[in-house]
Amino acid sequence: MSDGFRLGVFYTIVRPEEKWIFAAAESRGHEVVRVDDADVTFGLDGPAVAADVVVNRSVSHTRSLYAARCFAHDGTPTVNAPDVIELAGDKVLASLRLSERKIPTPKTVVALSPEAALKAIDRVGYPAVLKPAVGSWGRLMAKVSSPEEAEQIIEHKSALSSPVHSVFYVQEFVEKPDRDLRVFVVGSQAIAAMYRHSSDWRTNAARGATTEGAPLTPELRELALRAADAMGGGVLAVDLMESPNGLLVHEVNPTPEFKALTGATGADIAGAIVDYAVGVGRR
């Protein structure tokens, strides 16, 4: 029996995370309104979907952002809010904000042409890491150890058709243990943390990193909450590295996956997301 609350879920594909969100909503008596990001249309004159809140689970940054703006136009709140998706989903904008909030983050230089990219890498120092401004799962990232390598990578990136590849986001290569940390933040709570271990320098779970629960130390909790707050708050996964000089926040994910984290910690993340979204919908 539904309690009358309609929780929209905007998705690309249904993974375990989305199934858990559906189940958590239904077990709380809410109606689940499924919104396929490849199927929905938005007009200017009325709500696209009848929902009290929409949880964004689309894996496409572009679709997420436009949809969140359209839902906002409709008067339908979203988790996360459009500004949060825009900021956290773009590594350049996110780095600027982390720096403005004085949150420790790897040394970063942005360049807008292949020629300037070489200068940017020189400023960061070798080895350096080149990342796409948008996208994740460790795709199209490159570690460059010499100017020769840099020239080749920059040439390859320049040959890619998308204009986003003409933005060069260069970061220092941080010497760290063969692991990084992820803290899952929902609203004002850091609810779980895990280590992601990998012999590859990229520790994405999507690249096969192994995971285990990590203690949520006061330092980790405080830094993760500050980073999430810097992006505007909501449902965010804060990724951190253990550098020789302390913890560094290197990414804040606005549409986080949590299958590995749920497995590693047993935390009811889907339930926390649903409860938070219902709170946003009832504001």
Binding site: S60, H61, V134, P254
Partner: protein, 53 residues
């Protein structure tokens, strides 16, 4: 039950939901459920450049 559009192997519905992505048990192609009654599958959407978390 339906068939994989790539290799024609039999694919069982089990407890899959609309939009769920799973590999074909025979050829491994990623398939997406696009109908539950009747059960229907299609190749899953390909990963795009802006996909991620």
């Amino acid at each position: 039950m339906t068939h994989c559009p790539e290799c024609d192997a039999k694919v069982e519905q089990r407890d899959m939901v609309l939009g769920e992505v799973f590999p074909c048990p025979d050829c491994g192609t990623e398939l997406e459920v696009f109908g539950t009654t009747p059960f229907a599958v299609q190749p899953a959407p390909r990963e795009a450049e802006d996909w991620g978390e």
